[in-house]
Symmetry: C3
Subunit: 668 residues, 3 copies
């Protein structure tokens, strides 16, 4: 299998017919795929019930003639004016009851039947028309769903009905949510307050789960519609934007045939591993680990190879955020994603647009539409990919990290950390960064996937499992973690793990619940800290290691101290402790480790990484990532995340020189 | 009289019956009081008109058996869902007309008759049921009232009627408020605009006074209802949160039997007198002086001993603001409050809660409900209190500071200082901090209390009176200040004092009005300053003293210059001047003094403090506060506000060593 | 012609009659003009249709007796309560549909007929009453119009009609605005979405142009009404606040007889040329160049002398922004404005007000109303002006800068630069600052004025023309720039010039469009930069010169490089290039130059300034500005923008010493 290369292609946006020119240029650049059609419902159906379906044919025919495959989108994320005008009730409502105004896209409550009626009609028309076209290899239904929480009357009414079904009677809800508190006891379901004023974390978690389910249900409904028409070899997917508030990536991917997602990331010096720079937006990552993390999360949704449906062609984001890549970085990012499991790299998008919201979301071609530097670089990637076969590729993993969407949502409502960051991501990312900085490779596992595997299988596959901020967890899930260690695994517990239950209630139990005995440590207090706290350790410690943001007041009861705080008051607590448990071990980290501390802990827990087999002495700014093909052979990806040439010595004593922002793919 | 010690106790929040266990633990910790019942209207009255009153009985009986007294709350601050649902019109409206959404507490316009009807019924039921229970020593009506300004139609309508009653006719209002300006002249009362768009300070001051009166009237109404049932020895109070926007503490306390309030404060290094840290919230203080100031304001409301109905047990505030005390600080804070007049210390709250908004407002017990470090520390306080009798205690005062709620409100609308701070508090607090840093003790006097005393009595009781930012003041009040100096007092005037009148109008008069002749100084211009301005002085000046934020262009006309600005342009004005007046003196401070300058000015004005009698050579981080019992004997409180041991030498030549965060109570 | 000196005068705001006192004081200070009556509709017409017109007579009579001229205002900017009450539909609506609340001024949609009906009646009454009074020299209609964009139903409806008229049919609009994008194609005009949700720059530009036209139409309507009554020698104007979002100064000035405007500026160290300080507000400038720029923009509206209807008397802005001038600065600012074309300096305002929103907008008199320092300084200006004749004065100009309101609006919607600044102003101002810092003088030309002149005439009058950020420009306008260079001018192109078209669409063309061949340079990418980038150059470079904010990836095709970036990645592009074109030259600046770089480029382009004739060796903090009177004679204005005395050597070898903040006017 060759990795697909291509771009989103909007021929219809351009007043003059450039289709043949564009497709010729794509072919010359080694493109093998394009995505089409998902943004223009008002072109497919210019007036209520009047369809115009033929305009796309030249694109599909032209692509097919050149051996370029096509992913066909359903156009439901951008509602046409005639529909907005006739049914204003489909406008999504914010928490305060206001309609999200028309004028962009993704403004509707897609759980609303008036929207569904029209969406079904246009999906049937478009997919019905082109399903048999030989260029079409698959479908993208909708686009980056889950942008908004729908506070519409219908959506809220169904939320109450769902609670009624889940809890049976209000007394049960009163008890489970603790509604005695602040006089919130309900006498009847009709008394439930709306989310706008809600201050209770139990309510909010139910609301977030419900909203994510609305998205899953919507995508499943579209997928089923499309499957009525699709050929057997065609896949159905949607493109997931992982930061969307109303999306559960695992649930979404489960109703689709393949995971597809849109990893956007900051380029330029944000990809320089010798620098630390803040993220530019909430939906882009900064840094090398951040880019890998996006790929690892894409893999995690189905634990298999995935499609990159959109990623930076050059600048992305608004008119004042132009940050095109330094020469070489596009190639670098493509192979980073591929090394962690991507089997398609599709840029967003082919042209730069003369008008519209995304005028400065740069395309492969600049506004002049004359091929330039970016086009040439992507053509270079195309040339390399032509000869790279990654059939059955599975990335290597030294460490598994447990992910929990429930915990993420709960800690968005009740963040443990001060400041602007997303607490859950900050805690989780600190460990993922530690893995990357330690030269290891990470597998991200949804908690439910770990549960399916069971403790023994988990211990067999992953020598180290890190459980950061698993705040929302059932008793059984916490027992699983404990049993994983007993079965021989090395469990690393981060803060907030074992503190909450499935309702995001603080557990009335010694913390960390279900784990404190195995861990040989408990705590009864914790503190936020404004300034990083320096640490000392009995394990090898990277320079300048610090505890940040939060400190659990760990009280060892049998555990051995590995890391200590250098602080006049907090020094009475250890920072990291460890204890053997059964055939394995539990290590407890009582703080949010900074990169140096995280890499130190991971480095101690993973004494030999897979990549050590290739180049045992490497270090950042070089990363070595790897995986095995279906035939068992390994592929190594060497990347130089810096503006200076570097040389890597391999296990075989060979010296490999990487130019600045350089890439080397070595098939084993 | 022993100082009461206890906590707010919500047995009803816990699914399992722990009452006996909890009360035993309390008894062992020396608890003598609990507060109960004020948060759970929906438990008292689960459905409209159906009451369930018996659940509290085991708590009262159990407490009584253990000699623990009970403060019983009326549950009106948290409206039950059935009431919200039936009468949405009781929801408070914000300035923009939107209803405050349900889902927390304190969302209602408590001046609304539909609310009052139901509130009266539940108050009569609860108080009627338990008034005769021997454990009950008093009542708390409602809880921290005055959170919101009510922009409801009824409340606005009554505001217009009140103006009509006050001003008689629109022509008078037009004249008094200067409504010719910007074409605001009214031809009829019905033309008055709503507060949302108001830009006039005169209107706003009337609105703020009205809103505070709504709160006072509501609390007085509740108190009268409760008194229909209360036993003669039972008191009625409410717990005042001093930062509430719609509360006039003096007026509130006047309709109650005792002042009660909720001083929350930042702990950890915020209580380290060797550091300066910004406040964490608008409702907590930072710093040693800030903690004392909360106590001094509590004393000021009625000029007598007060109850602390709530204060930090450990962390307070949301999930990302966990900052439990360093060991020793709880004890320290308790005795600081007691030394300034507290006769009850009641922690908020006993348990930590597994659910609800305040999950991370920590209790005496942690989430596990097993007694831990905090419990042990509080038990230590209980042991000390058992033997301390403070009958008739009155704290000492070297200096009186004048407080004006009117000025506070006026300067919130038209703040003189740039930045986020509350201007009035910043100016006022700079002097209070100066008093503490100078080793003196402060009495805070409401302007109305000073007026009642009269100039001569004021001069007799307070050798120094500081009048910071008295922007809203009648002619008579400004004359009182002048006459106080003439009668032998030393009057210190801060900025903005004597600039406005009772309508918050800038006076058409030479500034400071009524005072410039006595002060021997006037000004016609003033400037904000972004950077602190260094000063020089002819009085002893603490290191690094600066003028901050504001500089009056003082023009001496007979006054002597004490402090001068070191500034190329502002150096033409003096910073602090003084002049003898009658039997006393007026000192004018033309800027907001930083702590060093404020302490220098206070130190000069108060050459010998009360505490000098005990330990003449002490200095921060040690404070010595004191007072006299009814029998005239003095009690000294030594506190070490630092993380290092310190030794204090007393007037008797004795050396007292205080451990870090240490406390010593010495009965004279 | 003597320059007029005076103030806005609101006798009616004061409860006690001070008219004779005030006018005597004005006369003594050399006042020759006052502005009256524009703020008090509710005084002119206290009740619907009842007029009270006589109250102003004593002011006009008293002024006339003392030789003080009067500008009479129409009172339409402040709507009386009775009108607000009866017709709430005239309240302006914000984008979200909410009515702007009453309580300040300028809250109405002045395009609404219910407002117009009443406005016409009061204008006719007031102007009809006083047009023949001999004191009246002119009229100000309304006041600082264009504060709000009106989202009222009527205004939006007329917007749609206007589009229909402009574009003819929806298909044309779909094509011109690119509405295929994101499914925005309209099938009918009724489907157009409202501005609230709009995300398209083409829509926004049309909306901004429409809103500015509403303002022009309103002012023209008032001017026509007034002209029905005005004497032939009386002028009609309005006072323009240039930062208003809904005002096109050139269009406004075109329907009036003279330009009048309100330059407010930060004083104190903000006028110190040795310091760089951020602007205090969006409507005041900071710095010496900023003050000159306000004057240059006033000149630009009609390319002729202008009136300053309002400017700082002392502090302006709210209660926490008191920043009165250092002694000397008022005089300095007055002569700076005069040197660039002001023929009236009218302070806002005479009294300081005891009440109302603007209590701390200081007047010539302080709150005490006793003349003080500010009065004395202004009297000094009056004394100087008495002897200065500036008949037919035209300021000198070394460089012309092209201004485009369309580009300003377009770049407010789609700002190229990150951060809080207004991108267009930041780019434009960087060049204007460069002109001032280089010791040159600037003429600002509206693009339409340049178009009227034509390329040849432009080249004749201006040896150097700078075109910064001309993002919105027609093909013809870009050709004009090119032809100007061909005709012998030196064209300097800034970033974003030649990138957009008249619909604010990015041009599908090699950038800079129409100019890249003449310029010998093109680019296909650009980047924002967070940190200033140092530069090196082959032209004389001021110390510490940097590129900031934005860098075009310039690719020279025939141009010579003048300035280069010192940057590991961006160093591959030149920063400034130049190329001879026809009889002239095109220089391209690919970045936003900081002051040092801008002054270097201007200094290179303007080797000899007009002011060099007077004092060839001067430099900041001294500025020399100049102009010619109608008789051809020159007047030089020397200003010392610093707190230290400086000496200037003239071309004649004379030494002139300027005291701190000093002024010298020298008639040639």
């Amino acid at each position: 299998m060759t990795v697909l290369l291509g771009a989103a292609y909007y021929a219809e946006y351009h007043p003059h017919d450039r289709i043949e020119t564009d497709l010729d240029l794509m072919q010359q650049a080694g493109f093998t795929v394009i995505r089409v059609g998902e943004s223009v419902w008002s072109t497919w159906e210019p007036r209520d019930g009047e369809f115009d379906l033929e305009w796309l044919l030249p694109v599909l025919d032209g692509a097919h003639r050149r051996g370029i495959a096509v992913v066909l989108g359903t156009p439901t994320y951008a509602v046409p004016p005639w529909l907005q005008q006739a049914y204003p009730e489909i406008a999504a409502r914010s928490a305060d009851g206001r309609a999200v105004p028309w004028g962009g896209r993704q403004e509707v409550d897609y759980s609303h039947p008036a929207f569904r009626f029209h969406a079904e009609r246009v999906i049937r028309a478009v997919v019905g028309r082109y399903a048999e076209h030989p260029a079409v290899i698959g479908y993208q239904v909708d686009n980056e769903p889950g942008l908004l929480l729908f506070h519409n009357h219908g959506a809220f009414t169904r939320f109450v009905r769902r609670l009624k079904q889940q809890y049976g009677d209000v007394e049960t809800l009163n008890r489970e949510w603790g509604l005695t508190y602040w006089s919130h006891r309900l006498a009847d379901w009709s008394e439930l307050w709306r989310p706008e004023g809600n201050t209770l974390p139990q309510y909010d978690l139910a609301w977030r789960r419900y909203q994510a389910d609305l998205t899953t249900e919507f995508i499943a409904w579209q997928a089923d519609l499309v499957r009525e028409y699709a050929m057997p070899e065609q896949f159905v997917t949607t493109c997931i934007s992982y930061p969307r508030p109303a999306a559960d990536d695992r649930a979404l991917a489960a109703v689709l045939d393949v995971t597809a997602g849109n990893p956007y990331y900051a380029m330029q010096d944000h990809l320089d591993a010798t620098q630390d720079r803040a993220a530019l937006t909430a939906w882009t990552t900064s840094g090398v680990a951040g880019l890998f993390r996006q790929a690892d999360r894409l893999w995690s949704s189905r634990q298999e190879q995935f499609l990159v449906t959109e990623t930076n062609a050059q600048s992305i984001d608004g008119s004042s955020e132009n940050r095109p890549p330094w020469p070489g970085q596009l190639r670098q990012a493509a192979f980073a994603l591929i090394s962690r499991g991507a089997r398609m790299i599709e840029y967003w998008h082919w042209h730069s647009l003369p008008y519209g919201t995304e005028t400065y979301w740069g395309g492969v071609l600049p506004h002049s539409l004359r091929p330039g530097r970016v086009y040439e670089e992507i053509a270079g990637i195309g040339a390399t990919l032509k000869d790279l076969d990654l059939e059955g590729f599975e990335p290597d993993a030294d460490v598994a990290l447990l992910w929990s969407n429930d915990s993420h949502w709960a800690l968005q409502f009740f963040p443990p950390l001060s400041g602007q960051d997303d607490s859950y991501e900050r805690i989780f990312d600190s460990y993922h960064r530690g893995v990357v900085d330690a030269g290891a490779q990470a597998r991200i596992l949804h908690l439910a996937q770990a549960r399916s595997a069971g403790a023994r299988e988990l211990a067999r596959r992953y020598p180290v499992v890190i459980a950061p901020a698993l705040y929302v967890a059932t008793d059984a899930e916490l027992e699983l973690l404990r049993d994983y260690a007993a079965a021989g695994g090395h469990l690393v517990i981060g803060i907030r793990t074992g503190y909450g239950d499935h309702e995001a209630r603080a557990r009335v139990a010694v913390a960390p619940a279900f784990l404190h005995e195995a861990a040989g440590v408990r705590y009864e207090e914790f503190t936020n800290v404004d300034e990083p706290v320096p640490v000392t350790a009995s394990i090898p410690l990277r320079e300048n290691a610090h505890a940040t943001a939060w400190i659990d007041g760990l009280i060892p009861e049998g555990a051995e101290t590995l890391v200590s705080y250098a602080h006049p008051e907090l020094g009475r607590f250890p920072a990291v402790v460890t204890r053997e448990h059964g055939a394995g071990r539990v290590t407890t980290v009582g703080t949010v480790p900074d990169p140096a501390l995280a890499a130190s802990v991971v480095g101690w827990a993973v004494p030999a990484t897979v990549a050590d087999q290739f180049a045992p002495e490497r270090s950042l700014p070089v990363t070595v990532t790897s995986g095995r093909r279906g035939d068992g052979s390994r592929v190594w990806f060497l990347l130089n995340w810096s503006g200076s040439e570097v040389t890597v010595k391999t296990a075989d004593g060979e010296s490999i020189t990487l130019e600045k922002w350089g890439v080397r793919v070595i098939e084993g």
